[in-house]
Symmetry: C2
Subunit: 227 residues, 2 copies
DNA sequence: TCCGATCCTTACACCATCTGTAAGTGTTCC
DNA sequence: GGAACACTTACAGATGGTGTAAGGATCGGA
């Protein structure tokens, strides 16, 4: 069953939304304290967030931005402020849908179902600059193509993406590959890195794995930007 | 550069939309004959379709349904009919966004960008009931998991999804597997089907491949509905 | 209820691909 | 120039996908 978290401070409206969604077969969950909202949401990691813009603590925009930076949880912004500016801003911050209150029950449910459907299977996607990586299968999405990476190459790229732009030590990489740091086979790691580089190049990716002498590696864009 | 195809019979409106989108940096493409619209769209396979509901030939709904059955190309329905019924119907048929004309330039562009962003990397996804299949890698998305199917199993499932619910002949399946109908190895096909069934079962999929004696197979939901 | 046609299962051997090993070649920087 | 570090290449073992073969199960008409 799909789980939805409502972020709305007006009790009456919250009850109403909750009721509608529950009757439609969703498991509903409510945020009741309005600071560190994004963290609370990350904690619960629902399948969808219903977010009001006017909150007592954090602003809805702030929540939106923060949540989207750290996850791919879909957000439906629902507000009484009927302002184009708000809508554009919310969408720009990564919201997936925008509705104004009051809102017909049918429309709400249709949009909710729509967003959830569109997010099917995206839960484990890591975002790189210009591509996506599925953490479960190591399927790489790039432009209009998709490729399944060999497990080891996938694991390496995954580590680089989790530490976006930062330096990744050889230890980190070895751990990711073999779940142990005891017996570090630098050479084997090296070979796997070379292979990843080769496939990235063959896919025309504009990222490079650059060595940081004596420490580890970093994933950078070709123009020098950290990725 | 992202490519958008406009399906709109009114020349004036078409020009205006085209202009707005081009200025925003999209490559724009227009459909000018309004039958077999879905096929034309599949041919071009743009990154987004802007679809009017009132068309001289095919109805917009029809186009929507047909396109979504055979691809995951995102559709933004743009219509002058401001009816909740239309909106619900369009969304139900798989449309991704719904806007009413006239529409502010900024809102249009925001929604377009939003849909395209959400679809990053989803271009080759086929939709089944309750799961998605990547046609390039045969990655299967189901609930919150994803699995890469072996090539043959992927090819078979792909054929079933393209002919959703219809009967698929052994010929079709052999063609998909070996690109030839000359030498049909019924047994090899059989074994591959068994393997697909087994992985589907192990994933808890509520679809079944049912034999149609003497003809071929059909993918049906466990409750008997064609999938 | 029997029998042939159709459909299904299982085990095995082949083959492609991924992976680690080994040995040697570049590169950097003091 | 040399030592540490980084990279490349080729090879062989392991893994997992595929076709083959043989036999078992099921269906449906006589």
């Amino acid at each position: 069953m799909k789980c939805i978290t409502i972020v709305e401070d007006e009790a009456l409206m919250r009850e109403e939304l909750s009721d509608i969604l529950r009757k439609a077969g969703y498991q509903v969950d409510e945020i009741l304290t309005f600071d560190h909202v994004a963290e609370q949401l990350l904690e619960r990691s629902p399948d969808l967030v219903l977010l009001d813009l006017n909150l007592p603590g954090d602003s809805g925009f702030q929540v939106c931005r923060e949540l989207k930076r750290k996850s791919a949880i879909p957000i439906l912004v629902l507000t009484s402020r009927d302002q184009l500016r708000d809508e554009l801003h919310a969408l720009d911050l990564g919201a997936d849908e925008f509705l104004t209150k009051p809102c017909r029950r049918e429309r709400l449910l249709a949009r909710v179902a729509n967003v959830i459907r569109r997010y099917e299977g995206r839960a484990h996607l890591l975002e790189g600059s210009g591509f996506l990586l599925d953490r479960q299968t190591y399927t790489l999405y790039l432009d209009n193509r998709s490729v399944v990476l060999p497990k080891n190459q996938g694991k390496l790229l995954e580590v680089f993406l989790i530490h976006r732009g930062e330096i990744v030590t050889k230890n980190d990489l070895c751990l990711a590959l073999w779940q142990t740091t005891e017996y570090i086979d630098e050479n084997a790691l090296q070979v796997n890195l070379t292979r990843l580089k080769k496939t990235m190049a063959s896919l025309g990716m504009r990222q490079q794995i650059a060595p940081v002498r004596g420490v580890g590696y970093r994933l950078i864009a070709e123009d020098g930007q950290t990725s």
